[in-house]
């Protein structure tokens, strides 16, 4: 309680501070709303495309066999425990929105080292069965470590984003894809017909 009291401003300041806090909260809420920040908490790939600069990755992902099995977060966020997942997300989200707002994003985005480690572990997480060979496993562990120490995408170079990568590399892609290829009005007309 004592500690809270320190935070309460002297009476003369109270009004301006409340006002400032209000404006602050309002701005925060507005930003939160406009940038669809709440969606960061979800796993929906469309979240990422809120930023148009993620469009190339989104577009390439939707044309890759992984779109059925793995969303952005399956690869780009740690899955070893829940805390780590949100910590990583928050840290990344902060940098991305900061850079985006200040227009610091480069023409060609490169995944950072920390991100690479996360992705690698996720590839292994899903494909572990394929990467382990029972007869060999029964003799030695090393062969398996050896098999996983290189970045999977140093060979699987087109997985999942293809090789041409720039903010302008997929200009005409529909991002995100329309919810449904059947427009509402057709649905309505068809219903009324019935």
């Amino acid at each position: 309680m004592k500690f809270i009291r320190y935070l309460i401003p002297p009476p003369a300041w109270r009004f301006p501070v409340i006002l400032a806090l209000g404006i602050f909260a309002g701005l925060f809420g507005f930003s939160f709303y406009v940038s669809k920040a709440w969606s960061y908490l979800s796993d929906d790939p469309k979240t990422c495309v809120n930023c148009h600069i993620m469009a190339p990755q989104y577009a390439t992902w939707t044309h890759n066999s992984h779109r059925q099995y793995a969303n952005c977060n399956d690869c780009h966020v740690p899955h070893n425990n829940v805390l780590n997942k949100y910590f990583f997300k928050a840290r990344d989200g902060m940098r991305h929105s900061y850079m985006f707002t200040l227009r610091l994003e480069p023409q060609v985005i490169h995944i950072k080292e920390a991100g690479q480690r996360v992705v690698q572990n996720n590839c292994i997480r899903c494909h572990e069965n394929l990467l382990t060979d029972e007869p060999v496993l029964s003799q030695t562990l090393e062969a398996h470590h050896n098999r996983m120490d290189r970045q999977c995408w140093s060979c699987h170079r087109e997985t999942p984003h293809g090789r041409v990568n720039s903010l302008s590399s997929v200009p005409y892609a529909r991002v995100p894809l329309p919810e449904s290829p059947v427009p509402d009005w057709i649905g309505r007309i068809m219903k009324t017909k019935k």
Binding site: S31, V34, I53, V108, S166
Partner: protein
């Protein structure tokens, strides 16, 4: 927060045309009002500060850097001055200032035809449209000095209605037609190289088709490879000039950028010139083409790294390593060619006959053609390193064979030892060696620049 709003708005914002102009508008500033991003970046080609190991937009005086060139071109205008190209903003200035176009003055014509304007200005399609193609090429270069006044610009590459890429130069269309290909049927991606192929190609002046006209012609009827072009020239009995020392019937290769590029890995993967030299760029959500045409080494992030994830340094090294490996042997070939020319000169001096010399001189012609084809395209060593290396090696073989024959002939003529290598340490010494009076040439040119050029603005 407001910037987020703004940036989301950008996505739906589009330019509406402000300015109306015709296809033959030579002034890029007029086009530029409608397309400010493209225009602004286009103006940047006037920046001459970037220098890479062998290229870049800073001027390289090639004859000073490598005086052997002077000897290789003895008897030809290139021995007076030759620089490595710089940005498109300088095309007109450079053709006016080079010694190669001579020093026309009232009553004194340029040694060059009007064809020399062909690749320097959007006034060219305009004038061709007004006067006709052959009529444009006709006459000496100085006669159109007052009419060609804008450097390379929008009209050279674009259609004014749609802004689509288009071909403004008849030489390219004609070359396609003679090969039985239809240039209107090519893909958009091919156009992104073909607009460059209007100029960045090997050419010659055909003087046989129309009396008195140096008709710009691309020698591709038998194919675009080095050997096919040579076969074309041979079958047309064509020779650019007779070498003043060896008397060999020489060919000059000029920037076969497009031809050699096609033999490389990138072309085989469908990469186009514009992908590296005019990469796309996004500002906000507006995507546009960077019109600062330049060495990609000054813009690795937007060119190479779109496709390659390596570090900038590593990619630059890739380019340098290839250039070095190629140039090492091209230099050797150059030396062999200097030797061949002076040895042939010696043979004439000692009384060799035409029939003794004939095959030897053809060997020299073929060897130097290979050297020039590999050297004249400043991007060759990277665009198609394996093909360029093949060409250099075959030139070395031919030069070596010619020199073996020369050694035998010289011995027959009583000279059985080395012919001394000339002292051509510097450009000045080399130009003196081949008998050029540079002071006179420079003085004349200065007169031209002072008295004539101002009237050409």
């Amino acid at each position: 927060a407001s910037s987020i709003v703004e940036r989301r708005a950008e996505a739906s914002f589009a330019y509406s045309p402000k300015n109306e102009f015709s296809q033959f508008e030579p002034n890029s500033a007029v086009w530029g009002e409608n397309f400010p991003r493209e225009y602004q970046s286009y103006l940047e080609t006037s920046d001459t500060s970037f220098r890479s190991r062998y290229g870049g937009s800073a001027t390289h005086d090639m004859l000073a850097e490598d005086p052997r060139l002077v000897v290789l071109w003895a008897g030809y205008a290139f021995s007076t001055q030759y620089n490595q190209g710089r940005g498109h903003q300088y095309a007109l200035a450079d053709v006016k200032n080079t010694l190669r176009t001579g020093a026309p003055a009232p009553g004194k014509a340029s040694p060059q035809p009007n064809t020399c304007w062909a690749c320097k200005s959007p006034d060219v399609p305009r004038l061709m449209n007004e006067k006709g193609i052959a009529e444009f090429y006709k006459g000496t270069w100085d006669t159109k000095g007052t009419e060609v006044t804008h450097t390379i610009g929008c009209a050279d590459c674009h259609d004014s209605k749609t802004m689509n890429l288009h071909i403004s130069r008849p030489a390219l269309i004609e070359a396609f037609e003679r090969q039985g290909k239809d240039i209107t049927k090519v893909s958009h991606q091919e156009m992104r190289s073909l607009v460059c192929a209007q100029c960045h190609v090997e050419y010659y002046f055909d003087k046989k088709q129309i009396e008195g006209v140096a008709y710009l012609t691309f020698p591709w009827d038998k194919g675009m490879g080095m050997d096919s072009i040579e076969a074309y020239y041979d079958s047309h009995g064509f020779t650019d000039w007779t070498h003043s020392i060896s008397k060999a019937p020489m060919l000059k290769a000029q920037h076969p950028d497009y031809e050699l590029f096609q033999m490389g890995t990138h072309a085989s993967r469908g990469v186009s010139c514009a992908d590296c030299h005019m990469p796309y760029k996004s500002e906000g959500s507006q995507k546009f083409t960077d019109h600062h045409v330049q060495s990609p080494l000054n813009n690795v992030a937007n060119s190479c790294q779109v496709c390659h994830r390596e570090e900038t340094d590593k990619l630059v090294q890739d380019v340098y390593v290839r250039q070095e490996k190629l140039i090492e042997n091209r230099d050797k070939l150059e030396k062999l060619l200097v030797q061949s020319h002076v040895e042939a000169g010696k043979a004439w001096e000692l009384g060799a006959t035409e029939s003794q010399m004939k095959e030897i001189l053809i060997g020299i012609r073929r060897a130097q053609w290979r050297w020039d084809f590999s050297a004249a395209g400043h991007g060759n060593s990277f665009h198609a390193p394996v093909e360029t290396a093949r060409i250099v090696a075959s030139g070395i073989e031919l030069a070596g064979n010619a020199r073996v024959e020369l050694a035998r002939l010289l011995a027959t003529l009583g000279w059985n030892r080395e012919v001394p290598y000339p002292d051509i340490e510097t450009k000045e010494k080399a130009q003196k060696f081949i008998g050029l009076d540079m002071d006179a040439l420079n003085a004349e040119k200065a007169e031209f620049v002072k008295n004539v050029l101002p009237g050409w603005k």
